[in-house]
Amino acid sequence: MAIDQVHDLQQVYRKILYSMSRPGDISILREQAEQVDYQLPCYDATLLSAMALLDGEVSFHLISEKQQQVGGKISEYTLAKQAPADKADYIIVLQDATELSILQAIYQCKIGDLIDPQNSSTWIIETPKLSNTAELKLMGPGIKNEVKLFTGIYTKAWQARKERINEYPLGIDLIITDAQAHIVCIPRTTTVEITGVE
C-alpha cells in the first residue's frame, strides 16, 4: 500500500499538531508508517512528517551522509527545494548526523525576527528511541506541570537550542521522530532542563 496523500497525511498532521500543542506527549504514527513502501534510509516517521508539511513553497536542509539518496527523494516526493542551513524552512537531521554538523546548523539556522517570528526553521530530528523517562524535564505552555522525556539527542544540542530560543519569541521548533514511528514535539516555548538519565 502507498501513503494516501489526503487521509494518511491528515492523520500525520493531526498527530504532529497534538504533540506540538502538548510538548513531551508522544504520538504514534504506526498505522501510517505501515503504508510507507519507499525503501529510504530514514525513519518512516521522518518521511511522513516531511510529506505532511513540505511542498514547493518551502525549502529544507538535510543533515546526513545520505544527501543524495534521502534529500533527492524528499525533493521528488514533496517538490520542496533543498537550501543551505541558514535559509531552509525545515531542517531534517537523520540518525547518522554528527554532533558537529548538528551544532553548526543550530547556530546557523533561521530563528525569525521580532516582527516575523514565524520565519524560523522547524527541525525534524531522528533519534533511535523516545520515551517518557528522565533525561529531560520539560515545562511551559501545553504542559500541565512538567513532563519527563528521553530523546538521546546530544546534550550540547540542547544547550545550543537554549541559546537560540533565549530571545523568545525568536527560536526553533522541534519534531523528534524515532524508529518505532513515535513523534514528540518541542516548540520554542518549552523550557528543557537536563536532569540526566535515571
Binding site: 493531526r14 506540538m20 514565524q118 504542559i143
Partner: protein
C-alpha cells in the same frame, strides 16, 4: 451535473500552507501568524478563517459541531456545517461532548472541553491594537516591541468614561506573558475558559488573513488594573426560564406583551441537554 469536490474542499497544497501556519501559531501562543486565506464559497467575514482551519484539520473520523453565538441552528452555523459535511461526509453532532472538532462563532461551550477536542474560533478582528493604530505595519512593530500602552490606555479611557472597563466582548488577554491577543468576540464570561484550557484553541481570521492559537495549559490573563480588577458579566438573581441554569451565560429576552425581561441559556445544546436530563429524572419514578 454535480461536480465532486476534493476531500475537505481544499487542494492539498492549500491545506499544507494552513497547517504550517497553524503549527507556528501553536509554537508562538497568541502571535498572529499570517496565512494566504483562500477564497471560500462563503463571504469573507462570515467565518472563513474558522472554516479554513476546520477544513485543514478535518479527517474522515472526526465528529463536527458548529455553533454560532451559542446556537447550533442559526444560519451561519448551519451553512458552515452543510459545507463541511458535503465536502467530507463526516458525522455532525450538536452534543458538545461527542464532538472532536468544534467550530464556534463568539462563544466557548459551557461544557468543559477535553484533551481530545479542538476548538476553532472565528475571528473578525484579530488585532487587539487596531482601535488605537490603523496601520498593520505599525501594529506588527508594536507587538514585536511588546509595546501595549495603546490597549491599556483604551481600557483606562473606558474606566474614565463609564467607571469600569466597558468591553462588551473581545476583552483583550495576555497570552503566556508575551502577546496581547484578541480572544475573538466571546463574552468576558468566556475569557476565563481560555486560561489553562484542556483543549487546543485555534483562532482563524479569514478576511484579515491571520491564524493564532492558545495551546492547552497556557497562561491567559485578561487585561485589568489592580484597582479595577477584571469582572465577568453577572447574572445574579437570574436563571434560565427553560432549564433553570444559574451558572452559565444567559441571553436577556424581552416579553413583548408584558415588556418584562426574562433569561435563557445562550448555549442551546447545553440547555436542551439539561432539559432532557431533567425530564428523564421526572419520568424515572413512573417506571417504578
Amino acid at each position: 451535473m454535480k461536480t465532486m469536490t476534493h476531500f475537505a474542499f481544499f487542494d492539498e497544497g492549500s491545506k499544507k500552507e494552513i497547517r504550517r501556519a497553524t503549527l507556528k501559531a501553536v509554537a508562538i501562543p497568541g502571535y498572529q501568524v499570517p496565512f494566504a486565506s483562500r477564497e471560500m464559497p462563503i463571504a469573507r467575514g462570515w467565518g472563513t478563517g474558522g472554516l479554513q482551519l476546520t477544513l485543514s484539520l478535518i479527517g474522515k473520523t472526526d465528529i463536527v459541531k458548529v455553533i454560532d453565538q451559542g446556537a447550533d441552528e442559526s444560519v451561519n452555523a448551519v451553512s458552515i456545517k452543510k459545507l463541511v459535511q458535503q465536502t467530507t461526509n463526516v458525522a455532525l453532532t450538536e452534543n458538545t461532548e461527542a464532538a472532536s472538532l468544534i467550530q464556534s462563532r463568539h462563544r466557548i461551550p459551557e461544557v468543559p472541553l477535553t484533551k481530545e477536542q479542538i476548538l476553532v474560533l472565528q475571528v473578525p478582528t484579530p488585532e487587539p491594537l487596531r482601535q488605537v493604530e490603523a496601520s498593520e505595519y505599525i501594529t506588527k512593530r508594536l507587538h514585536a516591541e511588546d509595546e501595549y500602552s495603546g490597549v491599556w490606555l483604551l481600557l483606562f479611557e473606558q474606566i474614565m468614561k463609564y467607571g469600569k472597563t466597558a468591553t462588551g466582548a473581545d476583552h483583550p488577554v495576555y497570552v503566556n506573558g508575551r502577546y496581547v491577543m484578541a480572544p475573538s468576540p466571546i463574552p468576558r464570561f468566556d475569557n476565563q475558559k481560555l486560561h489553562y484550557s484542556e483543549a487546543l484553541i485555534l483562532l482563524g481570521a479569514g478576511r484579515e488573513k491571520k491564524i493564532y492559537a492558545v495551546p492547552p495549559y497556557t497562561d491567559v490573563n485578561s487585561l485589568a488594573f489592580e484597582d479595577y480588577p477584571f469582572t465577568v458579566e453577572s447574572f445574579a438573581d437570574h436563571t434560565c426560564y427553560l432549564c433553570g441554569a444559574d451558572d452559565v451565560f444567559l441571553d436577556e429576552l424581552i416579553d413583548e406583551t408584558s415588556g418584562k425581561s426574562y433569561y435563557q441559556c445562550n448555549d442551546t445544546s447545553y440547555c436542551v441537554d439539561r432539559l432532557n436530563s431533567l425530564k428523564e429524572k421526572e419520568a424515572a419514578p413512573t417506571h417504578a
